[in-house]
């Protein structure tokens, strides 16, 4: 008799009853009722990584407040310029050929407006007064915030696209390709970014010229040079981050399975690797936006950003610096809004990192 047959006999020998056997007697088992069966059903809904993260994010009051603040600012800069009766470059003094419109204080009116009010008309108030050229300051601040947000978002998108593709290629192919690509990143990373930005912006400002009336011309060379600088310099941080993610992801079995079924390199990168590093990428983009806004306001502040008459929060602060003794609120308002935007995005980014970065989960 072989061992195998012996084992089979032990396992299935239901007929032979050994009083010391631990064998379950199947004849004595009962079928569960429907109710009892239901009790073993899974009660809660299954939770995904994204849902868990959102739950953690919403529980964080600081992140919630930041989200609300950002949402309010975004809505304000989209809606207010459409409904506000004054435009950002309308010089009220020139329109009415009346010098009294320049340098109005908050909630003050020009002489012709006062006459109209006396005649019973209602005039939309100048919430923050007007600037030295008689432009409504409130709408300039709102418009400046719009420009700053646009710069922040666009620059981050540029960084996102270049950085993640570069990092993914470098990480996926590895070896010599990776080494050469990463040495380039090392060099760009060690460049003093602020200096290079100032240098390039000051030169692009004189070199670039666009036909007037086109979209690029209204944005101004300062703005375009900011985007170019971001495209040239700022993607390296993102590239390093994505490369690290890809390096650890590409060893996973699902990538091997995809390769085995004949998937090409680009397919694996865009279908498998990048979507799986999405949480890290999103966190990094959220933190990139305030840094871009900061850089833009910094450049505008030293006179390299947007071109007049278009305002940005940085250039408004710069303009106000000259008349700080007489009109301090013109500096305080844009400064407060820049701080609010930057702080909100930073805190939201921190919240996102706490909520979604699996390495930090305890």
């Amino acid at each position: 008799m072989t061992g195998n047959e012996n084992g089979m006999r032990l396992g299935f020998g239901l007929g032979k009853k050994n009083p010391l056997s631990m064998q379950v007697d199947l004849t004595r088992l009962q079928r569960a009722t429907d109710e009892e069966q239901k009790s073993t059903d899974i009660k809660g809904k299954s939770s995904s990584f994204a849902k868990d993260g959102m739950k953690r994010l919403l529980k964080n009051p600081i992140a919630d407040i930041s989200m609300v603040v950002i949402l309010l600012i975004v809505l304000a800069v989209i809606i207010i310029p459409e409904v506000w009766p004054y435009s950002y470059d309308l010089q009220l003094g020139t329109k009415y050929s009346d010098g009294s419109y320049n340098n109005l204080g908050p909630m003050e009116y020009g002489t012709t407006e006062l006459a109209k009010i006396a005649a019973g008309e209602t005039i939309w108030p100048h919430l923050f007064g007007t600037d030295s050229l008689g432009r409504d300051y409130f709408i300039r601040v709102v418009y400046g915030a719009r420009i700053s947000l646009i710069v922040g978002v666009f620059a981050s998108v540029i960084v996102l696209v270049i950085g993640s593709i570069y990092g993914a290629i470098s990480g996926y192919f590895g070896g010599k390709v990776d080494m050469i690509m990463m040495r380039i990143v090392d060099i760009i990373y060690s460049l003093p970014d602020l200096l290079i930005i100032v240098l390039l912006s000051s030169i692009l400002n004189t070199v670039l010229s666009f036909s007037s009336g086109s979209f690029l011309a209204t944005l101004g060379t300062g703005m375009i040079s900011i985007f170019i600088v971001f495209a040239l310099l700022y993607w390296v941080g993102m590239a390093r981050l994505v490369r690290g993610q890809i390096l650890s992801l590409k060893k996973e079995d699902f990538v091997l399975a995809s390769k085995a079924s004949g998937a090409s390199g680009p397919w694996i990168i865009f279908k498998h690797l990048l979507p799986n590093s999405l949480s890290v990428i999103i966190i990094s983009v959220t933190l990139q936006i305030p840094s871009a806004i900061f850089t833009e306001s910094f450049l505008s502040f030293i006179g390299l950003g947007v071109s007049a008459p278009m305002p940005s929060l940085g250039s408004l602060a710069d303009d106000a610096l000259g008349s700080i003794q007489s009109y301090p609120y013109r500096l305080i308002i844009p400064a407060a809004i820049i701080s609010l935007i930057i702080l909100a995005f930073n805190l939201l980014g921190d919240g996102l990192r706490d909520a979604f970065d699996p390495k930090l989960q305890k």
Partner: protein, 308 residues
């Protein structure tokens, strides 16, 4: 010194050198992209004079030779004469102004380190108490707020509203606010750094041992914990000194300090290109050297770090 350490240093020095060369190259070709040569000015110059001038400065040679000459000059900080401040050499202006910026930066860094470590250790020992919370909120704010905003708020409060300090004065009083402004960001950063590393250290066994021995709290903190928790702070200070000097661009502009940053911003609006190039390369050199030194010191100080 083992082979690995040596090869690390060689690699690091090479990268620093390549960085400097890269910045010089970028500045040179950026300069070439600007329409008009260095002798284009309001006064018209005859063609003969122009040719003579170009021959004197080597501008008639092919571009590549010009590049090599510029590279040679830039490596020894010879950037030629300034266009706008006639009769002065760019390197002279840089050295004169750098003294002022350097002193302000150094004092700011000393203030930042002292108070940063102080607040950081308070926050760590009082984790999750009200004083920890206050310190963390304030330091987050100082990191998020751009320096030009902090500077203008200071200007507004102390010079305009309270009128206790002078604006744009070269007396001692005029340097108080810029130094304070510059020190805030690194102070906040060092506070956070000290807090997190002290928290790490306080959880280790030898600290528990020291406590079990019955040592008072301050002795545990200052004699045992702080020595180990300060390593990251020390490595941060080196590069930060270089960053403080570049960060002073706007601060010097706002407080009208006649330092390197102010001159840099001024040369941008003046379109004084040799000055822009020179300052960029000079500051890059300082930054690269500081980074190099602190990286190598870090590896020497902490034997646990691996060389990759």
């Amino acid at each position: 010194m083992n082979v690995k350490f040596f090869s690390y240093i060689v690699k690091r020095v090479l990268l620093a050198f390549v960085t400097v060369i890269a910045v010089i190259t970028i500045t040179f070709f950026a300069m070439q992209a600007i329409p008009g040569g260095p002798f284009t000015s309001e006064k018209s110059v005859s063609a003969d004079t122009l040719a003579l001038l170009e021959a004197q400065y080597g501008l008639d040679k092919p571009l590549f030779i010009q590049y090599l000459n510029y590279l040679k000059g830039a490596l020894v900080w010879n950037f030629g004469p300034s266009i706008k401040q006639t009769g002065r050499y760019v390197s002279d202006i840089i050295f004169t102004d750098f003294k002022i910026s350097g002193i302000i930066g150094l004092i700011a860094l000393i203030i930042a380190t002292t108070f940063g470590i102080f607040f950081g250790s308070i926050a760590a020992t009082r984790q999750n108490h009200w004083d920890d919370r206050v310190i963390m909120v304030l330091s987050t704010a100082c990191i998020a707020l751009p320096s030009f905003i902090i500077a203008t708020v200071f200007l507004l409060v102390f010079c305009v509203q309270l009128n206790v300090l002078p604006i744009g004065s070269t007396s001692i009083g005029g340097y108080v606010l810029p130094t304070l402004t510059l020190s805030l960001y690194p102070m906040a950063y060092i506070t956070r750094l000290t807090r997190s590393s002290t928290l790490d250290v306080l959880n280790q066994d030898y600290i528990k041992m020291a406590r079990a021995k019955g040592l008072p709290n301050y002795k545990v903190l200052f004699k045992h914990a702080l020595r180990n928790s300060l390593t990251p702070v020390i490595t941060y200070i080196g590069p930060e000194f270089a960053y403080i000097i570049t960060g002073s661009l706007v601060v010097e502009k706002i407080f009208a300090i006649p330092g390197l940053g102010n001159d840099f911003v001024g040369s941008i609006s003046n379109r004084d290109y040799p000055m822009i190039m020179g300052t960029t390369i000079f500051l890059t050199d300082i930054m690269v050297i500081m980074l190099l030194v602190s990286d190598i010191l870090y590896k020497v100080a902490d034997p646990k770090v691996d060389f990759d």
